[in-house]
């Protein structure tokens, strides 16, 4: 059962990821991205992380990709830019070599890791004496555990992400505001 879920979800993720890269049409690429995000959500559910799964769908599929599509629709990017023109001819083969190299590196790393001792499960994510077993047993435990992580262990970093949101808002306003007519030529 676990294996079946894993294989199906992984297929969703991989097919979606490949689709994002290969589909020529931006809308189709964005839809492939949705597939990937759903696959990841399924993985989360299989790992008992329901809250993450729901938030994954709400935030990524429900908000971020919707905004992508919104922009694509508004800008009317109906045909993909012609990617065949190359300014630097060496770039494409170089990118391919780098890509293959990184994939090879990661696979080698994973294969090399296979023999080694497995880690203690969740050594770092325990909330004050609550083991994984206890945590999974309760109905809402996953959420409680997450709350412990966010509001006790990582509270400062978590609160500071709110500043990051202010930055995003202020920056967006600045970037989208129409410019005043030029009053004076620019300093170098």
């Amino acid at each position: 059962m676990q294996l079946v879920v894993f294989v199906i979800a992984s297929l969703m993720v991989l097919v979606g990821a490949v689709g994002v890269v290969l589909r020529r049409h931006p809308v189709h690429a964005a839809l492939s991205l949705v597939l990937t995000l759903f696959g990841v959500a399924v993985h989360f559910v299989a790992q008992e992380a329901h809250f993450l799964a729901a938030v994954q769908v709400i935030v990524y599929a429900g908000a971020i990709v919707v905004l992508f599509l919104f922009v694509i629709m508004l800008l009317g990017v109906d045909s993909a830019d012609d990617l065949r023109i190359e300014r630097l001819p060496i770039q494409r083969p170089l990118a391919a070599v780098m890509g293959v190299g990184i994939v090879g590196l990661l696979i080698a790393a994973v294969v090399a890791t296979r023999g080694s001792e497995p880690l203690q499960a969740g050594a770092g994510i325990n909330v004050a004496g609550v083991g994984i077993d206890d945590a999974v047993a309760g109905h809402d435990a996953n959420i409680t555990q997450l709350a412990g992580n966010l509001f006790a262990d990582y509270v400062f970093a978590f609160e500071l992400t709110s500043v990051l949101l202010i930055v995003a808002v202020a920056g967006t306003v600045v970037l989208t505001r129409r410019e005043k007519p030029p009053s004076e030529e620019d300093a170098p």
């Binding site: 809308v27 769908v57 429900g62 919104f70 629709m73 959420i143």
Partner: protein, 407 residues
């Protein structure tokens, strides 16, 4: 995997045949009742509106015209299925299902009945098995509802875009902007409910609303309820927020190019969504299947067992909301687009955020044994300062604009 479903006693322990059959039965019942309910809703809406406008409404097909929807459905079914030339074929075919499926899936997590009295947390006996009148109770039930409602945007957006013509595209752009904007207010007023209930599971939320004073509509102080209903109406694209398919401006909106069965799917999804959203509101704010109870007194429907009574209460409350939605449609004129956005961003979101913060402050004060009035006073003062800054900023930026600053 057991952890996912463990909370329903039916599914706990070893997998046996009987529970599987019961679950399959639940799926079937929800599906059929959903479809029939939608057909009923269409008839109900036409009939009630007709009544409000001093007309008769559908009266030919079946008694009181109740089979009218069925007749319309059959007619639609036999119409020609058009695929516009400039359409994006795959997406054009996909879109109706993306609109339709989420509307159905929400039913899986709503408690449609069950016995919540005497500390009995919604369990009933079926074929000798204790279970819930609900397909599933995931620990994040209500977030699932939010997730599905955010997926529903895709159906409309992609339908409009893939049609390859301008009216549907305009309709879709409007719809997306509207739904994304109002989802914020929806989520913030939902947060107030979650704060009061202390649970994300629908059973948990219903469980805490055991008397009228504990119904979340009262417990959260009415404001989140009002905002939720307004935002939900906007999410549904129902009047007075139906700019998506404003006939005078956009022909038929996002589904202009659709016909036959695909159109029927959109049509069904729209009415289905109305019922689903009413179900969500009932669950969140009006105690779901909980009977009306004031103090120690509980309204009891005679001759009906406690197990079935929950379902009746749920349906009664649901009907109330369906009526309210029809009433909205018959009464309120459509908003202009800028008014719609102003209402969402400048009124609903600040109010729901402020109210949520107030509730959170009161909750903190209660947990820490602080003086309630002091906490309330300080938080209201803080919110007022924030409001003053906001209005001041709006005024200053308006003045700057008049003086020629370009924004």
């Amino acid at each position: 995997m057991t952890g996912v479903l463990a909370i329903d006693p039916l599914l706990f322990g070893e997998l046996k045949w009987m529970p599987l059959v019961i679950v399959a039965l639940k799926v079937l019942v929800i599906f059929v009742v959903g479809l029939v309910g939608t057909m009923f809703m269409v008839w109900f809406e036409r009939k009630v509106i007709a009544g409000m406008q001093n007309r008769i409404g559908p009266n030919k097909a079946g008694p009181f015209g109740i089979l009218q929807t069925l007749a319309d459905g059959v007619k639609l079914f036999f119409k020609e299925d058009l695929l516009p030339d400039r359409a994006d074929r795959f997406v054009f075919r996909l879109a109706p299902f993306l609109a339709f499926v989420p509307a159905f899936l929400v039913w899986a997590v709503l408690p449609l009945g069950g016995d919540y009295r005497d500390g009995n947390r919604g369990l009933v006996e079926w074929f000798g098995h204790a279970t819930r009148v609900q397909l599933a109770d995931p620990p994040v039930g209500i977030l699932l509802v939010l997730a599905l409602s955010s997926i529903a945007v895709y159906g409309i957006m992609l339908a409009g875009w893939s049609s390859g013509s301008k009216y549907p595209l305009l309709g879709a752009v409007r719809a997306t902007a509207q739904m994304v904007s109002y989802e914020a207010a929806l989520g913030l007023s939902l947060a107030a409910v979650l704060l009061t209930s202390g649970s994300l599971s629908t059973v948990g939320i219903v469980g805490t609303q055991d008397s009228l004073s504990n119904w979340n509509v009262v417990a959260t102080g009415v404001v989140p309820f009002v905002i939720f209903v307004i935002a939900a109406t906007a999410e549904l694209n129902r009047p007075p927020f139906d700019l998506v398919e404003a006939e005078q401006e956009l022909v038929g909106g996002f589904n202009t190019e659709y016909s036959s069965l695909r159109f029927a799917l959109f049509f069904l999804a729209e009415f289905m969504n109305t019922i689903t959203m009413s179900g969500v509101i009932v669950t969140l704010f009006l105690g779901g299947p909980q009977p009306l109870a004031i103090g120690d007194w509980t309204a009891d429907i005679p001759l009906v067992g406690n197990g079935l009574e929950g379902t009746i209460w749920f349906l009664l409350k649901l009907l109330l909301f369906l009526y309210i939605y029809v009433w909205f449609r018959a009464t309120l004129p459509r908003l202009r687009y800028d008014q719609l956005m102003d209402l969402g961003w400048k009124v609903l979101i600040p109010i729901s955020l402020g109210w949520f913060l107030l509730l959170a402050a009161l909750r903190l004060g209660r947990d820490e044994d602080w003086n309630v009035w002091l906490v309330a006073g300080v938080s209201v003062a803080g919110l007022l300062v924030a409001a003053v800054v906001m209005f001041g900023a709006m005024k200053v930026s308006g003045r700057n604009r008049q003086q020629g600053a370009v924004y």
